[in-house]
């Protein structure tokens, strides 16, 4: 059998190979696409969990592709940080894939195999971005993830095509800036391997070109993650995307970009360079404050449930970026923990939005009226997700906010601390408004124009099962937070902060 040493590459290769299998078999038998994608994601999830366990037991793993030693060949480096992110990606995408069965059948009946091929290629791209230890390989995988998400978003409703086009423009600008930054690093060092760059860069840290490289890479990644002034493309793209796309893309894309930022900051430029030599963290923390407040306030003005969630994503990105740039271990711990937690919370809420859309053909706040009576199980899970978003204790949302606030106090960033608290209050207002509408207001006369009467009942099992797994994990992960931090995240925070 295949030895565990090969697991790191298999995490990426299994989904890639199954993309072709799904495409070809799906061309003949549409019905096989769904079981195949679920099967391959289960294998991927198993591989990434066992890789995480290997890392926890024996420290970072390095894998040489093609057998070439770094820096000449491409290297995979799996340490505590990206092993955790790999598990998050494979878990979330598995849940999203299981969920997608009914909604894809309903929304895209004649292009199911293509949809699932793109779906799993997107997962491949995200996994590859996370696992790689080579700056240029990262660019290629960013483009795979980007191209698939353009297409997956384009086939949504209303103005999905236009927002997808804007996403193409902004995504290309972001990726090109990243590529240009890597070019600056290459011209100054001659290397592309992250570990090699880390060892060369301190000697030339005063160089202007390196500063420009850092600027280009950071701005490029920020465009990808929709950090506040660059967030314009995100809300429309995620609101009008097909349900199954929203469920996959919304929890993962921004979180993986945050991971990429952390990886490049600490594994290419070194914590010493970004925090001590550059001394820009005050500005960036204030930008994060703007992101949190701006995102939350914009969310407050929305009347569409899913659109509201997209603005909350913008605010959550502010949490993570701000947390990293607090430049102390509590802040970075909080930011990394929030990658995990926010992926789960966003997934939970987008699953609920997806179920509501599936049943009512809308996700306006009006569509939610009276749903607590009609769909009690769905809305119960929604309540858990909402409490977590607000930051109520045993749920995960509380713990990452706790660490972020500790970090803010440590760093003396009172503005950031205030922003966190204000945003929690705004979230409370928002979600209690939704709960009030769903619980107390009477059922809305659904779709008066309707040629067929929609009777709303509980969602099918293939949608409820992943929702419940996620809702339960919001609490379970919350309870085990301290062991996650001591066993995994503590090793990922750079030493000496």
């Amino acid at each position: 059998m295949i030895s565990p040493e090969q697991y790191p590459v298999l995490i990426v290769v299994i989904p890639l190979l199954s993309a072709f299998i799904i495409n070809v078999i799906g061309w003949f038998r549409k019905g096989f696409s769904y079981p195949l994608i679920v099967l391959s994601l289960i294998i991927t999830f198993y591989l990434s969990v066992s890789t995480l366990l290997q890392v926890v037991d024996g420290g970072a793993i390095s894998y040489r592709l093609g057998g070439w030693p770094p820096p000449f060949g491409i290297e995979y480096v799996i340490d505590h940080l990206n092993a955790l992110v790999l598990v998050v990606i494979s878990f979330v995408s598995l849940a999203a894939a299981v969920f997608s069965k009914e909604s894809v059948k309903k929304e895209l009946p004649d292009r199911i195999p293509q949809y699932y091929t793109l779906f799993i290629l997107l997962v491949t791209g995200l996994l590859g971005m996370t696992i790689t230890g080579d700056a240029f390989n990262l660019y290629v995988l960013i483009e795979i993830a980007a191209l698939t998400s353009y297409a997956l978003i384009a086939f949504g409703r209303d103005r999905a095509l236009v927002s997808s086009f804007n996403y193409v423009i902004m995504g290309t600008v972001g990726a090109s800036f990243y590529l240009l930054g890597v070019g600056h690093l290459y011209i100054m060092t001659g290397s592309l391997n992250m570990g090699d760059l880390l060892s060369i860069l301190p000697a030339i840290s005063g160089s202007r070109a390196i500063f420009v490289a850092f600027l280009l890479i950071i701005v490029g990644i920020w465009t990808k993650m929709a950090f506040f002034p660059l967030h314009g493309w995100l809300p429309n793209a995620y609101t009008y995307a097909p349900t199954a796309t929203g469920v996959l893309v919304a929890p993962l894309m921004t979180k993986v970009s945050v991971y990429i930022m952390i990886r490049l900051m600490f594994s290419v430029f070194s914590a010493d360079y970004v925090f001590n030599t550059l001394n820009v963290h005050d500005i960036i923390v204030w930008m994060a404050v703007a992101a949190i407040i701006g995102g939350s306030l914009l969310a407050l003005t929305q009347t569409d449930f899913r659109r509201m969630l997209t603005y909350l994503i913008v605010a959550e990105v502010g949490y993570m970026v701000g947390g990293v740039w607090l430049a102390n271990s509590a802040g970075i711990t909080g930011a990394i923990l929030h990658i995990l937690n926010d992926a789960l919370m966003t997934l939970c809420l987008f699953l609920v939005a997806g179920i509501i859309y599936h049943k009512t053909r809308g996700h306006h706040l009006d569509d939610i009226r009276g749903l607590y009576r009609k769909m009690p199980f769905t809305m119960a899970a929604f309540t858990v997700g909402a409490l977590s978003m607000i930051g109520v204790p045993p749920t995960v949302g509380f713990f990452s906010k706790w660490y972020l606030i500790l970090g803010a106090i440590d760093a003396g960033q009172w503005g950031f601390m205030a922003a966190l608290i204000i945003s929690s209050l705004i979230n409370a207002v928002l979600f209690f408004k939704v709960i009030e509408v769903g619980y107390f207001e009477p059922m809305h006369g659904h779709h008066d124009d309707g040629h067929h009467e929609v009777t709303i009942d509980e969602a099918p099992f293939s949608m409820l099962a992943p929702l419940y797994v996620i809702a339960v994990s919001l609490i379970v992960v919350g309870i085990y937070t301290s062991s996650i931090i001591t066993n995994i995240i503590a090793h990922a925070v750079p030493k000496g902060l």
Partner: protein, 337 residues
């Protein structure tokens, strides 16, 4: 390195870029963009990047321009003049471009000079590739050996990017139902010249033969899977341009084309996976010597490179055809341009 040519071509490139952006007629813009790409080829040949120039000639000046023209043909040709209302966007664009330019110029002041043999880029990694390519892989074309072996993993995903683009175009454009109304609805039959048809028909076999040579001879001369695949795809596109789309689809139907696209990338990733099954790391071709007759580990690498190049060529050919067919027929797979 002849810096006089370098300066001249670069100046012309700027003119082309400027006029491609400014000209009002989109078809002219596309043609100027083709010229821009072609000047790029000259520039890169001048700098010694023959493989890049070859790819740019096939991809940038060739199929990209055709895709653009097909898309313009399917939408509208002229740009409407706007005197008001765009000021805000112009300001943003101007501001972003100016800031980016200044930042880049600031960083540029630290660069080692152009074509400096002692720059870090030329002295850190690249000497290893130049001195070891023959002894490691027996491939004299260093670009091929780095592309398909040292950094073969990148190239696998590069092929996957092409594949993704093909599936994405099919996903977005393909119309399975007949009843959808088409705003663009152009139904006139294009004029078909017998001279062009005859000449193209005579040329296609030679083009395809040349493409196969480019794929097979990539070890020793510029070229390889990408260039060969694009040329193969272009030969089909030529048939589509001079005749109509139905004659392409008769030669290469939708189903076989998709299967070819999958097969190509699958071949690449599959060769990598075989290496794992034989007990080495992914894409470590040297281990293939165990199943290939009469090869040592160096020649096994050479053969492995050839295998993946063939996979790349198949995939790229199929996807280029798929993108062209979908764009030119608006996803209907009927008569094309």
């Amino acid at each position: 390195m002849i810096w006089q040519i370098d300066l001249m071509v670069l100046t012309l490139i700027v003119f082309c870029a400027f006029s491609a952006v400014m000209v009002k007629d989109l078809l002219s813009a596309a043609i100027i963009f083709g010229a821009y790409s072609f000047l790029m080829c000259l520039l890169w040949t001048e700098m010694g990047a023959v493989d890049v120039a070859f790819t740019e000639a096939a991809v940038g000046a060739g199929v990209s321009t055709i895709f653009m023209i097909a898309a313009i043909f399917r939408t509208s040709r002229s740009v409407k003049h706007r005197s008001r209302g765009r000021r805000f966007y112009k300001l943003i664009g101007f501001f972003a471009a100016a800031v980016t330019g200044m930042v880049l110029l600031y960083g540029q002041s630290d660069f080692p000079g152009w074509a400096d043999p002692n720059s870090p880029a030329s002295s850190h990694l690249s000497p290893y590739f130049i001195t070891h390519t023959i002894s490691d892989t027996a491939v004299p074309n260093i670009v091929t050996s780095v592309l398909a072996d040292y950094r073969g993993f990148d190239t696998m995903f590069e092929t996957a990017v092409i594949f993704t683009a093909g599936i994405a175009v099919i996903f977005v454009l393909r119309q399975y139902r007949r009843d959808q109304t088409d705003v663009a609805g152009t139904d006139e039959v294009a004029y078909q010249s017998p001279i062009i048809q005859t000449v193209s028909r005579q040329m296609v076999p030679f083009i395809q033969l040349f493409a196969l040579y480019v794929v097979a001879h990539g070890h020793h001369s510029p070229g390889g899977g990408f260039q060969g695949g694009v040329i193969l795809g272009a030969s089909f596109i030529l048939v589509g341009l001079s005749y109509d789309l139905r004659s392409v689809l008769k030669k290469m139907g939708e189903g076989p084309n998709i299967i070819f696209g999958n097969l190509g990338v699958f071949l690449y990733a599959g060769i990598g996976a075989v290496c794992i099954l034989l007990g080495a790391n992914f894409l470590d071709y040297s281990v293939l010597s165990r199943i290939l007759p009469a090869t040592d580990s160096v020649m096994a690498r050479s053969h492995g490179i050839l295998g993946v190049e063939i996979g790349v060529a198949i995939a790229v050919m199929a996807i280029m055809i798929a993108i062209y067919v979908n764009i030119s027929s608006h996803g209907k797979y009927d008569k094309g341009l």
